[in-house]
Symmetry: none
């Protein structure tokens, strides 16, 4: 059978079969694929052969697997424009996705030297550190840490806990509008904790963004660092 004419290996045939299933919309993004055991039974092959086929699609970014849980259809990468006005919520709505944020930790601490410099405050001045997770259609796309100068934004700590929206929180502190002054991008490897939150493997490349947002008087109101999952987000720069 196999050796008669075709040179395609079994694992390749399985990968092709699954790929066409996906392109035909048989499984929607986020859907759970049959278990490896079920697929092995369906194709009449060993489970390892199925795994080989699946690994190809994982490599292509079409499938995400989660140990103990199953294999899932991956969402297509999200376009995320970075320009003068960067708004997470608006950006994702514009990209046709459902945005969501999850607060991981909100604390008040003193700023480090570099943070104080970015925010143009005195070293060791208190800041509100907002640690969280950004999701698109329920899939995590970035972890972030936003720092706010408390002395300029009284009460923002309590506000963040309720809204989880930076724009909203700033508005309630009297900042009706803010613009991005600077953005710096680098590529880093995911730490174990970042990988855990982003549901990727430790060490995969992330895009790290360090940015400063200022109000109408050009006074820094937020210093944010965001780590985007490289295979789920495409940063776009206008111009």
């Amino acid at each position: 059978m196999r050796d008669s004419s075709g040179k395609t290996s079994i694992w390749q045939a399985i990968a092709d079969a699954l790929r066409s299933d996906l392109s035909e919309g048989k499984y929607a993004p986020g859907d759970k694929l049959p278990t490896e055991a079920a697929l092995a039974e369906r194709f009449g092959v060993n489970r390892h052969t199925v795994r080989h086929g699946i690994s190809v699609l994982v490599e292509e970014g079409l499938i995400r697997t989660r140990r103990g849980s199953g294999s899932f259809v991956a969402a297509t990468p999200t376009d995320y424009p970075i320009g003068q006005r960067v708004r997470f919520h608006e950006n994702l709505i514009a990209a046709g996705r459902r945005p969501d944020k999850r607060a991981l930790q909100i604390e008040v601490r003193s700023a480090t030297e570099g943070e104080a410099k970015a925010l143009q405050i005195a070293p060791t001045d208190p800041v509100c550190a907002y640690h969280g997770l950004s999701l698109a259609d329920g899939q995590p796309i970035a972890v972030f840490e936003s720092l706010f100068p408390i002395q300029r934004l009284a009460g923002i700590t309590g506000t963040l806990a309720k809204t989880s929206s930076v724009t909203e929180a700033l508005r309630l502190c009297g900042i009706s509008d803010y613009t991005r002054r600077s953005t710096r991008l680098t590529a880093v490897r995911a730490t174990a904790m970042q990988a855990l939150h982003l549901q990727v493997s430790e060490g995969v490349p992330l895009m790290k963004s360090s940015s400063v947002n200022v109000d109408e008087t050009s006074t820094p109101v937020e210093y944010g660092r965001t780590w985007f999952a490289g295979d789920r987000v495409t940063l776009t720069l206008e111009g």
Copy 2:
């Protein structure tokens, strides 16, 4: 093998995260950690995985868990000096802790041979046996049994029931001061009953102290045996 490949397991990442939280002082000793369910939600993993991470810190002695109550930051070991003058209350105050005693049982019985010898009384002479629990900041640190020669200390039984303080009870019996004549230390395993009171697992190591306190005339007034929880108390010997 695992660390060479650079992959950190999830439970290890969680243990690391919690450990750094503790070392950063995010949670003070005695504080309650978030529930396992809350941590599982925060990390986006199953509760069992969180439990695995927590169990590591429990093993390290950084965390104590209490079924039905929660997980708590373990208090650092209490320094307990043993010298000429040993006063439970004073010792713990000096260590910056809140002392407390809980009487478990107070009975009058006849002394055993060894007890009589230690107290220098006739065998089968009646003694007041004071069984109790010592706590620091609400956490049990020792179970003890104090024996008092009734014939020398009339009315001490009723006094103990009120004050629970050995020093106070002896003072009310005319013993204005007492000093320690001897202390013997051994290590034993916690019996089921001791483990229950100390809220530890059966079989964990305890430090057993057998001591004799004498009044100004060098007459024994108390023969005490104390079982300290090994991981919550550090006995210090001056000199």
